[in-house]
């Protein structure tokens, strides 16, 4: 973002500039804590003894925390200054963008998309660490039929928290770090369209984390991650933690979605027509574009839930005239698109990196786009396949079976794109490329088992069993998380300036992939045999399968720890990375390490797409005569060769 140089001398700005420089994560926690305490005290005194009193108190306290946190991090500074008619000084803009602040800029409301990307990466890793630990708890409890490791109450709460944390983590794991850090550079922009909204979307999630974890002290979430009413109506105040987390998260993803979509629509470099836009950009836009209609459904379901829980509403209470099916429909209207929100960026990242490591163009770029569009379009029409057995609309089971099975066609097309890309390539088996192969294995299993579940009579046997759990772990973790790890290995040199050391990453890859398959193949077996989901104990018949699953889970855990070690040690003292270690052609590989604050000295002009491997480099023609610079262009346009090495 290049602002015009201000004519008058830079004064120490009143209030705005000075205050803003003092706000950071610590003041956010302080402000959040103080406001929460005030909110708690006032509501406790006035509302506690009324109907639904404790739910109301908890809700108000959490809302006050979130509001205080956002005030304390400085999220409101910009809007308030704008309302007061104060323009932002250039020095303030640079400060907000984190210039010359070193590490501290990561603990502030920093607008630089690269900082936000790294912050998202840290948040994602933290969420995975917590969710993964909870997974170890679950599997340890299930190592024998009646292990008594966790009592029923704790187990249900752990299951619910594990699920919700992982869902949030997987939603943000690719679009957060890489959609923010890499994507603007990839399209030749200096930052995102709305840098302050960018920081807002991140800090909203940070504010929600303590809310979510507070459930542990409030009786837990007894409903699993889906939060089904009317069990949710019955739940202890931990359910408020669930609802508030979701409401905050929906706001964050709406904001991020608007930001990413606008950025891609309006800020691509000159010459980057849609034909030349990398597939990763398409994937990111598709994902957040799908989230924009979907997550408000989830938010709505939680608002209605809170009306039930704090005001005695009966939205989901049958005896009061409501219907539990209302919740299920609102939820799954979000829930099904949401899995594609998770999956599409991961697959798009793999489609972005596979050409680089096969040294070949992406096979049928247009088919990839049609496939993504097909998945997005169909995904909003399939939601009730989660409700075949609910009894809501048995006559609609057939049509939903149709739409669900149709999704296999565009999904299969994505397989063709990947296979076509590796076909007759020069395969460079780096960690990112290995992730592609792991996805090819895992996603076939995940996809095929989804087909079983889409068949209505088969679903009557399998719904609510561990078969479903294994299916969605194969897709979301086997394809999704694997893709995200591939993306991390691929873009690590650009984001950190260092190479990810191969040893720990390699050990991690094999431990995780082998452990993953052991865990969830065992889970398919016990699901077929009749073990329900979300049970703290089970019949002896399922003992072997569960034991095997638990051992596999421990392998995954150790493998992820190796990855953590590899990431930390490489970040701190890994080998310095060259500008373009992979010989890739997209724009992010043309900027030096560390990436300068405004990314490009001179904004590039794009003349070819990024998949020109094996093709002769065309010598550019004369500069087009005096075309006006587009918005956001640099001082002069210089023809930049497609990024990458000489071939």
């Amino acid at each position: 973002m290049t602002a015009a140089v201000v004519d008058h001398p830079v004064e120490h700005s009143s209030g705005g500039g000075g205050l803003m420089r003092r706000l950071n994560a610590a003041t956010a926690v302080l402000a959040g804590g103080v406001l929460a305490l005030i909110g708690w005290f006032v509501s406790h005194v006035t509302l506690q003894d009324g109907d639904h009193g404790s739910n109301q108190v908890v809700l108000i306290t959490m809302a006050c925390w979130a509001l205080g946190f956002m005030i304390g991090i400085g999220a409101f500074n910009g809007p308030i200054n704008w309302l007061l008619g104060r323009d932002q000084e250039h020095a303030d803009e640079l400060f907000l963008a984190g210039k010359d602040q070193g590490v501290r800029r990561y603990f502030r409301f920093t607008t630089d998309h690269k900082v936000v990307g790294i912050q998202y990466l840290i948040v994602t890793m933290t969420l995975f660490a917590v969710g993964g630990t909870l997974a170890m708890m679950i599997r340890t409890n299930l190592i024998t039929p009646k292990s008594h490791f966790l009592n029923a109450q704790t187990y249900n709460a752990v299951v619910g928290l594990h699920g919700l944390i992982m869902i949030i983590a997987t939603i943000i794991m690719v679009t957060g770090p890489f959609g923010n850090f890499i994507m603007p550079i990839m399209i030749g922009a200096r930052d995102m369209a709305f840098p302050r909204l960018n920081a807002l979307s991140l800090w909203l999630i940070v504010s929600a984390i303590p809310v979510l974890l507070s459930a542990a002290f409030l009786g837990g979430i007894p409903t699993g991650w889906v939060g089904y009413a009317p069990l949710a109506d019955q739940a202890p105040p931990g359910m408020e933690a669930y609802a508030v987390t979701i409401i905050i998260f929906a706001m964050s993803s709406a904001v991020a979605g608007a930001n990413i979509t606008t950025t891609v629509l309006t800020m691509r470099a000159r010459g980057m027509s849609w034909n030349r836009t990398p597939i990763f950009v398409y994937g990111t836009v598709a994902s957040v574009g799908l989230a924009i209609p979907a997550f408000p459904m989830f938010m709505a379901s939680q608002v209605l839930l809170e009306v039930d829980r704090t005001q005695g509403g009966n939205f989901y209470v049958a005896s009061g005239g409501g219907s539990p099916w209302l919740y299920a429909n609102l939820f799954w209207l979000m829930g099904h698109p949401e899995v594609y929100v998770i999956l599409i960026p991961a697959l798009a990242a793999l489609m972005e990196l596979t050409p680089v490591f096969a040294r070949k163009p992406l096979f049928s770029f247009n088919a990839a786009i049609v496939a993504i569009a097909g998945i997005v379009g169909l995904s909003v029409m399939v939601w009730a396949h989660h409700m075949y057995a609910s009894g809501w609309a048995p006559d609609l089971n057939g049509p939903f079976m149709l739409t669900t099975e149709m999704i296999s066609v565009p999904t299969g097309l994505l397989f063709l794109v990947i296979l076509g890309t590796i076909w007759r390539g020069r395969l460079w088996t780096t960690l990112p490329m290995m992730a592609t192969y792991a996805m090819l294995w895992n996603f076939i299993i995940g996809g095929v088992t989804g087909i079983y579940l889409s068949d209505v009579p088969a679903d009557y046997a399998l719904h609510g069993s561990m078969f479903v759990t294994a299916h969605f772990h194969y897709t979301l973790m086997g394809a999704g998380l694997t893709g995200a790890i591939g993306a991390l290995c691929y873009w690590f040199p650009k984001m950190t300036g260092r190479m990810l050391s191969r040893g720990p990453a390699l050990i991690s890859f094999w431990l995780v992939q082998i452990g993953f398959n052991i865990t969830f193949l065992g889970m398919f077996a016990v699901g077929l045999a009749g073990q329900p989901r979300r049970v703290v104990t089970y019949a002896h018949l399922f003992a072997t399968g569960n034991f095997v699953s638990t051992i596999g889970a421990y392998l995954i855990g150790i493998g992820m720890l190796f990855l953590l070690y590899g990431v930390i040690s490489s970040w701190r003292h890994g080998e310095l990375a060259p500008t373009n270690p992979w010989g890739a052609k997209s724009l992010e590989w043309t900027v030096p390490n560390p990436v300068p604050l405004e990314n490009f000295e001179v904004l590039p002009v794009v003349t070819a797409d990024v998949y020109g491997f094996g093709e002769p480099v065309s010598v550019p023609e004369e500069l087009p005569a005096t075309e006006p610079a587009t918005v956001g262009a640099g001082d002069s346009t210089v023809l930049a060769a497609p990024a990458g090495t000489e071939s």
């Binding site: 163009p361 057939g398 079983y452 069993s465 329900p532």
Partner: protein, 251 residues
């Protein structure tokens, strides 16, 4: 640029891919025929028998598809892998796409999709048809946190915590809940329907095997969800009548 000889030497050997594919398909088909149905256990109704058949057929149908993806992936690693240890000195063949391949792929996958759909619809129709049986036994199933109770309205409202069913007679379950959503699942008979408060859902089956089978709750319903289990006893019609009269009902 790529030399002509190096390019020829890297042409795919379709025969090798074919054998890889065939081998994998055979293994996967054997797996499909043998494993899923066996894991699901002996069926206690035609419904379950159909489900196990579906699982087997879908697995067999998926085998060549999975084998195609995996054989190409495996072959690529055997044949096209650059072994220099660093960035390959040459690029691959610049294939941007192949309309014939793409169209064939989409056509075949669409046909497979149609097959799955027809299979599923046919299966649903037979299940529904058998549910329209005359003179079914009616059992009211009530789920309450965390217990299943069964009432036989046509036999004098006999109540029980265990399900007793006569062999070979179609039964219709009218399922409801007193509180939260549960899910009534008779595992070996392959039927499941949610128990919702304030409404009655239905499922039906014709048990055709004597024995004791599992009734489980398949929707997380709170603290004791894992314990919400009981038994379904399929007995001879005479034994069923005896059980009814023993519990104060009439035949």
């Amino acid at each position: 640029m790529l030399s002509a000889t190096s390019e020829r030497s890297r042409r795919p050997e379709f025969r090798q891919i074919f054998w890889l594919w065939l081998g994998m398909t055979v293994l996967l088909v054997l797996f499909s025929l043998w494993v899923p149905a066996r894991l699901m256990g002996p069926p206690a109704s035609q419904t379950m028998r159909d489900v196990e058949e579906t699982m087997t057929v879908f697995s067999v149908a998926a085998s060549p598809v999975a084998a195609l993806v995996w054989s190409v992936a495996a072959y690529s690693l055997l044949r096209w892998r650059d072994r220099s240890g660093g960035q390959p000195a040459e690029d691959g063949v610049p294939l941007r796409g192949n309309s014939v391949v793409t169209l064939s792929w989409v056509t075949v996958s669409s046909l497979l999709c149609v097959f799955l759909l027809i299979w599923g619809l046919a299966e649903m129709t037979t299940t529904n048809a058998s549910a329209e049986a005359t003179n079914p036994l009616v059992v009211d199933v009530t789920g309450q946190q965390w217990v299943w109770t069964f009432t036989y309205p046509d036999q004098g409202n006999v109540e029980s915590d265990q399900l007793y069913l006569p062999l070979n007679r179609p039964v219709v379950f009218r399922v409801t809940s007193e509180d939260v959503i549960h899910s009534f699942w008779v595992v070996q008979m392959g039927i499941k329907v949610d128990a919702n408060p304030g409404t009655v859902t239905k499922t039906s089956v014709r048990p055709d095997k004597l024995g004791v089978f599992d009734v489980r709750c398949a929707e997380l319903c709170g603290l004791r969800h894992a314990d919400m289990e009981t038994s379904a006893h399929v007995v001879s019609p005479a034994d069923f009548n005896g059980w009814i009269t023993q519990n104060g009902g009439h035949v």
